[in-house]
């Protein structure tokens, strides 16, 4: 441990977003399928959503004047970290049920972990965000863990 992470930063572990509820439409599925170069007719027709469609459904829609100069929004779930240069991260996703037009889905995101490691060229900060997506019956549809690395 290099002691980079203050108690204040670590106190954000467990912080959760308000649930976000969205409806799935055939048109949105079709747009997503075309934009990703899908060749499967069930997606191009919007009968069922391709995997990863949940990224489209739950990407934050924020006013233009809240974007930073590089066009990115600040994730309010995150504290101000002592390191800010983002490196490649990873995704770990479980698909529990298919997503179809007309489904109402609710996502909740939780900042589940913050930790540091010594890298070859200095300290690295890792953080993890868990997203759970459920249908109106409360059943899990997609669960996703994002890990990001800062240097």
């Amino acid at each position: 441990m290099t002691g980079l992470l203050s108690t204040e930063v670590l106190s954000h572990i467990g912080r959760q977003t308000d649930p976000q509820r969205e409806i799935v439409t055939r048109r949105d599925i079709r747009k997503y399928a075309v934009a990703t170069g899908s060749r499967l007719q069930k997606y191009l027709d919007g009968d069922v959503a391709p995997p990863l469609f949940h990224l489209h459904l739950f990407w934050d829609v924020v006013p233009l004047d809240t974007l930073s100069p590089d066009g990115v929004f600040t994730d309010r779930l995150l504290p101000k970290f002592p390191l800010e240069k983002a490196m490649a991260g990873g995704l770990d996703i479980q698909y529990h049920q298919p997503i179809k037009p007309g489904d109402w889905l609710t996502a909740t995101r939780t900042l589940s972990n913050i930790y540091e490691k010594a890298g070859r060229s200095g300290a690295l900060i890792f953080y993890e965000v868990m997203m759970e997506i459920r249908n109106d019956a409360g059943e899990l549809v997609v669960s996703e863990k994002t890990t990001r690395i800062l240097r």
Binding site: T36, W59, D70, A88, L91, D92, Y95
Partner: protein
Amino acid sequence: MNPEPSIGMALPERHHHCDVVQQMLYNASLWNGHRIHFDMPYATEVEGYQGLVVAGPLLGDWLHQIVDEWLDDAGMITGIEYSNRVAAFVGETVTAGGTVTQYDPNSGALTLEVFVKNDRDEVLAPGIITAQLQR
């Protein structure tokens, strides 16, 4: 899906030309305003990239598509673990592919190693996908 899966079986590969219109539509569909994907002077002069950066999750989608097209209606993807290691740039052609690494014929559970690589054989996005065949 034909023939039956076996360990070591390579899936059909797919080339993706990273087209600027596709990038625009993809990022618009997400509501992703990150300038590195569409603002060439910003991407090259401010961020120092060699060109417009292909959105990371699009490479992730191409990993899914390799397995999804191969499965067709014979099964579904149940999970993926992947990371974006190296950037792809608009104008490049990248190749997605994969190999079956585990297969249980009784349960229909499958594990596959998947990749997107560039024409210099650098792996941009490695991943592991789990899938379930209908039984």
